[in-house]
């Protein structure tokens, strides 16, 4: 894998975010190159999920800019941003618990209108996530955590996004599922989807990422190619510092 500077697909520049009086991001700048996997590392309450919400337009920054494919996302609502080609796997998956697995996956294609294409993609998802085949009519809320993660990923892919943002996709999964999820992220990426993921588990994330940023109480304290960061002793320090500060 190369980490040569790719054309930026997503860029946050100089973002400052507040919840009421409390500032959560301080002059945050992150770029995700087209076709890359970029990982945002950080301890609890460092502002990782808020970064996802900024990208998706669920929270708006007080200053700074967010661009996707060269155009600013700031004036757009969440549904409009999704239609631009950004899909998400939210923190704790957030499936529609009382809808069936099939309905959940199809909800991912909400922005599309091509019936045949959607049906084909549903088959494709069942190829990618074979276990879901027998569970299609089951309530999504009754699945195991790992299965729910598969549904959330399939749901995100159904919109044929240019980019997927994922919030702690391995959280709460058994080691077996963690490996599966990481493998799937790599597969998705190889098919051309850029990935921005938030993780607490640095060593796992750095296995598959091209670049990584480390967030500590709202500030980027370290960034660079994943290969390089993997061996950087500071990553552990920054990391632990982040959790202690929380």
């Amino acid at each position: 894998m190369t980490t040569s500077a790719a054309e930026p697909l997503l860029a946050l520049s100089g973002v400052n975010t507040f919840y009421g009086q409390a500032q959560v991001h301080f002059d945050l700048s992150i770029t995700v190159g087209r076709g890359h996997i970029v990982c945002l590392l950080g301890g609890n309450a460092s502002g990782k999920s808020t970064t996802m919400k900024i990208i998706l337009g669920l929270v708006k920054p007080r200053s700074g800019d967010v661009t996707f494919d060269g155009a600013s996302l700031l004036g757009l609502t969440t549904p409009q941003i999704v239609r631009r080609g950004i899909a998400s796997v939210p923190e704790a998956r957030r499936l529609f618990a009382d809808m069936s697995v099939r309905e959940n996956i199809l909800m991912g294609a909400f922005v599309r209108n091509d019936r045949d294409g959607i049906a084909q993609d549903l088959d494709k998802m069942l190829g990618l996530f074979p276990k879901l085949g027998q569970r299609l009519s089951q309530r999504a809320g009754s699945l195991s955590g790992g299965e729910q993660q598969m549904v959330a990923m399939a749901r995100a892919l159904m919109s044929r996004p240019g980019m997927i943002v994922m919030d702690e996709p391995t959280m709460g999964l058994s080691p077996l599922y963690v490996d599966r999820v990481l493998e799937l992220i790599r597969t998705i990426n190889q098919e051309g989807v850029s990935v921005f993921m938030v993780e607490q588990n640095a060593s796992l994330a750095l296995e598959i990422a091209h670049e990584a940023y480390v967030l500590q109480t709202g500030r980027i304290v370290l960034s660079g190619p994943a290969r390089v960061l993997k061996d950087d002793p500071r990553i552990r320090d920054a990391y632990l510092g982040g959790s202690e500060a929380a």
């Binding site: 609502t77 549904p79 939210p90 809808m99 199809l106 991912g108 909400f110 922005v111 919109s159």
Partner: protein
């Protein structure tokens, strides 16, 4: 007497009608966690549009139904777009209050357009009845059942097979996640308001035809029944709302069969309180479901209260105290006496709703308890009036707190529903407990106010008496707010989970707030009884509860001076501008709407 089968059929038919209202409430609650108190007003609008269609335009029945559905849907869309959407980012109590304001405005508009007198709404169906088993059934029963079933089927198909229907279900389960799938939540809101309004309007039409009568009092009743059915079925649960409605219809019908017509509503509200207390998530909520808590945490607009210097307060009090010595008309004194009585009620409500965050919609019940206590003590037991008024305060404090205590574990919207229902129950008990309250006849010949044997008959003495009592209550409440107890109240309002974690016993503090607030309201009701000399079960009604709430919001929730300023403003300004009585409620509704939208912290700020 009719057969049990007849009562069953009647119960199911009425239940069907409730279902049309309740399903709309459930859809709206599901999507936006809001109890739409304007649902009954749409039902009212539907009934009157139906009347215009049938009586004036002579439309055939199918066209009447379509006309009512479409017009009501448009009203629903307008409410959503202009009444509620602008409030999306405001405090969480705002949309609830807005629907109350909207309902006042709509009801009054209908009343002003069509007059409050009841009208006949003929059913356009042949008046025949078929024998089945031991009972009978008519074409209108079949129509209502047919409309109910058709609506249920259409709704099922919509939710299950249409794209917008999927969006509605997804939004109801997880709003943020739905947005992340590209669902436009505003369109979903629009859809549910349109559907809910169409169903509600048709329901009003059918009820009007069923009883061959419509009047403006239908509105609040429909909202209440719909809310009962919805909560019984589990808030936000659409099939649950249908079953809850049928159950409510049957309970009422059998209740009427056994006890008589005046008990119909009593059973409905007792069922509601029972469900709220025992199973707040409804009868059918599965254990896995998290309790829907629509209004947790701070929902009162945070603001810095306006500081009024002590000398200004003293000067204002002195000015009002010497006012009767100046050459002012009796009319002015009369108006201000009303303001002081409302002020006592507002002090009570601003403590309960503002300081401790329990938004009560049934506060007039405390007036009623006080008024009846004082009237009966002085009439039946010849207790001196001055003492009887104090007795009124004590009784309202004790009984009011006792009645509300089972609901202490409820939060947010549910407190409002419970207090509304308890308020209705108090009024219905007064109506039905004839041996004590003299039932529908009411109590007349209540002696005038007196103090130490001297009758207070002149407006001046009544003015001083009521003003003095209000000032004493206000001073006590001011002291209370500054004390440790007051701080604990506010801690519970702002974050009851944290307050509990600090070891505060929520129930005890809520009880203390209701005891203090109940006393003030009871005294106000007691004094009112002696001024009116006649009271009945309708003297203190929901309109007064909502008026008090408007006063309290106008002044700033929790703000003692604000409660009094709000009372003077809302009682006085219509007099100053000589607004005709029919328009006042309309004005109150508009004031409430404007406040919620533009100044939720009120004139003097929340505390």
């Amino acid at each position: 007497m009719s057969s049990w089968l007849d009562y069953t059929i009647n119960g199911l038919i009425v239940g069907n009608v409730y279902a049309l209202v309740a399903v709309g409430l459930a859809l709206i609650f599901g999507v936006s966690r809001l109890i739409n108190f304007a649902q009954g007003s749409i039902y009212l609008v539907g009934a009157y549009i139906g009347w215009v269609a049938v009586v004036q335009l002579h439309t055939p029945l199918p066209l009447t139904i379509i006309l009512v559905a479409v017009t009501s849907a448009i009203v629903g869309l307008v409410i959503e777009r202009f009444g509620l959407r602008p409030l999306q980012n405001s405090v969480r109590i705002a949309p609830l209050l807005a629907t109350i304001g909207i309902s006042f405005v709509l009801d009054q508009l209908v009343m002003l357009t069509f007059s409050p007198n009841p009208r006949a709404l003929p059913s356009q169906l042949p008046d025949v009845r078929f024998q089945i088993g031991g009972g009978t059934i008519g074409p209108l029963d079949l129509l209502i059942a047919g409309v109910g079933l058709t609506s249920a089927l259409l709704l099922f198909v919509f939710l299950r097979y249409s794209k917008l229907g999927w969006a509605v279900r997804a939004t109801a389960q997880d709003r943020d996640a739905a947005m992340q799938m590209g669902v436009d939540v505003n369109r979903v809101n629009q859809a549910v308001f349109g559907i809910a309004a169409a169903l509600g309007g048709v329901s009003g039409l059918l009820v009007g035809m069923y009883y061959n009568q419509i009047d403006t009092a239908m509105s609040l009743q429909a909202t209440l029944k719909g809310v009962v059915a919805e909560v019984v079925g589990g808030a936000g649960n659409v099939p649950g709302a249908v079953i809850g409605s049928l159950l409510l219809g049957l309970v009422e019908s059998y209740g009427v069969a056994v006890f008589g017509t005046s008990y119909r509503n009593l059973f409905a509200f007792l069922l509601l309180v029972l469900v709220l207390v025992l199973r707040p998530n409804g009868l059918f909520a599965s254990a896995r479901q998290a309790p829907p808590e629509p209004l947790t945490g701070t929902f009162i607009a945070p603001s810095r209260p306006v500081r009024i210097p002590r000398w200004a307060l003293l000067a204002a009090a002195a000015a009002f105290a010497i006012l009767p010595l100046l050459p002012v008309s009796f009319y002015v004194l009369q108006t201000l006496i009303n303001a002081w009585l409302l002020g006592m009620l507002a002090l009570s409500l601003t403590l309960v709703a503002g300081t401790i965050g329990q938004v009560s919609l049934g506060h007039a019940a405390l007036l009623a308890i006080g008024a009846y206590t004082s009237a009966l003590l002085s009439l039946t037991f010849a207790v001196p009036v001055g003492l009887a008024v104090i007795g009124a305060g004590l009784m309202s404090a004790a009984l009011g707190t006792l009645l509300i205590s089972p609901s202490f574990r409820l939060r947010g919207h549910y407190v409002s529903i419970a207090t509304l229902a308890i308020g209705e129950i108090v009024s219905l008990v007064i109506l039905n407990w004839e041996s004590v309250t003299r039932g529908p006849i009411g109590i007349s010949g209540i002696p005038p106010l007196s103090l130490f044997g001297h009758e207070l008959i002149s407006p001046t003495s009544i003015y001083w008496f009521s003003f003095g009592v209000m000032v004493v209550l206000a001073l006590l409440q001011g002291r209370l707010l500054g004390s440790h107890l007051g701080r604990s109240f506010r801690a519970i309002r702002d974050d009851d989970i944290a307050a509990r974690a600090y070891g505060l016993s929520l129930n005890r503090y809520k009880a203390l707030a209701f005891i203090f607030g109940g006393f003030a309201a009871g005294v106000s009701g007691g004094i009112a009884a002696h001024l009116y000399s006649y009271i009945n079960h309708e003297t203190f009604n929901t309109q007064q509860s909502i008026l008090a709430l408007t006063v309290v919001i106008l002044g700033g929730l929790g703000n003692v001076v604000g409660a009094i300023v709000g009372s003077v403003a809302l009682v006085g300004l219509p007099e100053v501008f000589r607004i005709a009585a029919e328009y006042r409620i309309l004005i109150y509704g508009i004031v409430l709407l404007l406040l919620v939208r533009f100044r939720p912290q009120g004139l003097l700020g929340t505390m």
